[in-house]
Symmetry: C2
């Protein structure tokens, strides 16, 4: 039941339909902490930002926040002054219903750009949304979806040391299926935790988690105007306060990384039209930047993705992609393996069995491994194949 | 008949089938100047380069060159030491047949990566190829194609001043339909001219032409391992020698620019699966780099391309693409028009007729105009729509 954002103590969630989407599909979600909480958020680096994000940036000047409202089916981006005004209106409406200050509400939205919010519908639905708050996270995880086919939520507990061991819980949910690109992976991700943690440590842990997960996935190299990752921490675990640089911070951070990576992989697996997940593992890179560039360029290449969709053992496309990643590469040193089959090594094509390679490409998980033999840096990126279905979805 | 590379005086061309491609499709082309000529070449910046390119880089240390052999259907890339050896063998074979030095032959290839050249077939075909040399450029222009649907060739004459006015001719042909990306546009382009021109001026003119044409087109953001643009100049027009910085240089350079741009547009129009050409005109950019980044990011965005394929008036995707181009953008200043219809201006969505916009997207040429109002720089990029057909072609 409470497998996502309601797993940590003191959190409730709700998801209902207010009429933004057709066929009474859920389109409004709320996450709420019973007690005072702090928040951290990371947002798109796209120069065009949703009104929701502009408001969050203002509200997050102070870390106190107790609820997140998520609107699905409308991005509220490129909607000018009216878009900002509309956001303030619905945030005020949530604040009234929950008896909170406006600044304690954060906002996220996803959907089509350039359409005004149906503000009357949303305002009318908010009291109803609040009465639906419960320990069941499922409706909220469903309501945030757009072209996604599957709900994405998970949770984890970790022990934090102090006078006594305390179990700290983290929960998360995400959405994202298209417009998934190089930074923050064009998606929405929400985390809750009952940990007692410094605001700066919370922000740092979120940054690390996003960098090693959502920033390494790609569906179509697009970065959206609405990318958001937000975490609320309400302290109900009553653990010794987690501070930056401490052993407890490492434990908390590593648990949050795990949750983020799992959600990121769920996003890729649910990529628009995707049938296969591609894992690109780069090692031996000259520096971290090079490793990331190569991993993401290969995972994001249309030609590589189309070849994998067709189980076409054309590894030359991987070579072409890694060569254009603006990273240090020496053709005469590197090794390339696909699903454990070494196809190219030290400047020479290897004698592998073409038929065996072709067969292995029918798997649902494709593993590409590149060893550059130039240094110690490594990175793993995740992508998906490119099918006719992706084009079909995005033509409409 | 001689509308392409054989239009300048003293050039002949040939195209035949040697059995690389199936169904006796032409796959071997040759361009030859009757008299001594000089050459310039520009090649891919991909770190993984075809053996053909490695050999050209060596041969172009001296500008003398009199023939270009083009192999179509095999990239001869990632073929290690044997690939280099094979290239030398076929170049030697052309040199023997034409009684030239090996260093006077340039080489280009395109096709699948990681496959060894069928060296016996090619060697056996070369004497036959040489006997086919004629003033008809058509067979050569056909032989260099791969997934292209149409031949791409053109020519132009321009007057060069001296003691007397001389007509200088330029001809060109190109191929490219997939793997068309940010730099040198993953394609092969060959130019011939009968101008008398300094080697340095020839190189400069080629660089300028490529920068303002092939480097501004995109089909799928892929940069290939085999991109090449090569020009031969044999001086048969007997004009006063064209030198860098002169008025005559400007005339020659502008004629070469025209030819390149035309070929570049033919490539985009023939993009794999493409049904529409997208022109993205950016003006008012802070600097040239910003203008180019925005134009190319919008023209290369999968989501923009898919929307245009479906005549879906979702201009928000254009906003999202221009926002992620890592260029200076002020949402409250910029104007966005599609096919002359202003859809967004100064931070606000405009009151355009949705139905009229949707209809205009049925055209075969889509014009996107972005005015940033931040400076004086401008750039125009060309792309094509993304259809299911692109995926189908590249799955196989």
């Amino acid at each position: 039941m409470n497998s996502g954002v309601t797993y940590p103590r003191g959190f409730k969630a709700a998801g209902i339909s207010c009429g933004i989407k057709k066929n009474t599909k859920k389109d409004l979600a709320l996450i709420h902490s019973d007690s005072r909480a702090i928040a951290a958020g990371l947002f798109t680096t796209n120069k065009i930002k949703s009104a929701s994000i502009l408001i969050n940036l203002k509200h997050l000047r102070k870390p106190d926040a107790q609820a997140i409202l998520i609107v699905s089916g409308n991005a509220n981006t490129c909607t000018g002054k009216r878009g900002i005004r509309d956001s303030h209106t619905i945030v005020q409406s949530v604040a009234d219903s929950l008896s909170l200050k406006k600044e304690e509400i954060l906002l996220a939205s996803t959907g089509r750009i350039g359409i005004f919010l149906p503000i009357t519908k949303i305002k009318r639905a908010i009291p109803n949304l609040v009465t639906h708050l419960s320990e069941d996270s499922n409706s909220a995880a469903e309501a945030i979806l757009t072209t996604d086919k599957r709900i994405k939520e998970t949770s984890l507990a970790t022990k934090i040391f102090g006078r006594s061991k305390r179990e700290v819980r983290i929960g998360g949910m995400a959405k994202g299926a298209g417009m998934i690109g190089p930074n923050l992976a064009t998606m929405l991700a929400f985390f809750t935790t009952d940990a007692v943690i410094e605001p700066a440590a919370l922000r740092e842990a979120l940054t690390l988690a996003v960098r090693s997960s959502f920033n390494l996935i790609t569906i179509d190299n697009e970065e959206s105007t609405n990318d958001s990752a937000i975490i609320l921490a309400n302290g109900e675990a009553r653990n010794r306060k987690i501070k930056k640089g401490s052993e407890n911070f490492s434990k908390f951070s590593s648990a949050l990384n795990k949750i983020s990576l799992l959600l990121a992989k769920l996003i890729v697996a649910d990529g628009e039209g995707a049938e296969k997940v591609i894992e690109v593992k780069v090692k031996g890179a000259w520096c971290q930047k090079d490793a990331v560039r190569i991993a993401k360029t290969v995972a994001g290449s249309n030609l590589v993705k189309a070849a994998i969709a067709g189980s076409f053992p054309n590894w030359g496309r991987i070579m072409a992609a890694l060569g254009r990643a603006r990273a240090r590469v020496n053709l005469n040193l590197l090794d390339l393996s696909i699903n454990g089959i070494l196809v190219f090594s030290k400047g020479e094509k290897q004698n592998y069995q073409e038929e065996k390679l072709r067969e292995s490409l029918n798997k649902k998980e494709i593993k590409i491994e590149i060893n550059l033999y130039l240094g110690e840096s490594r990175s793993t990126a995740f992508g998906c194949d490119l099918t006719e279905e992706y084009v079909r979805i995005n033509k409409e």
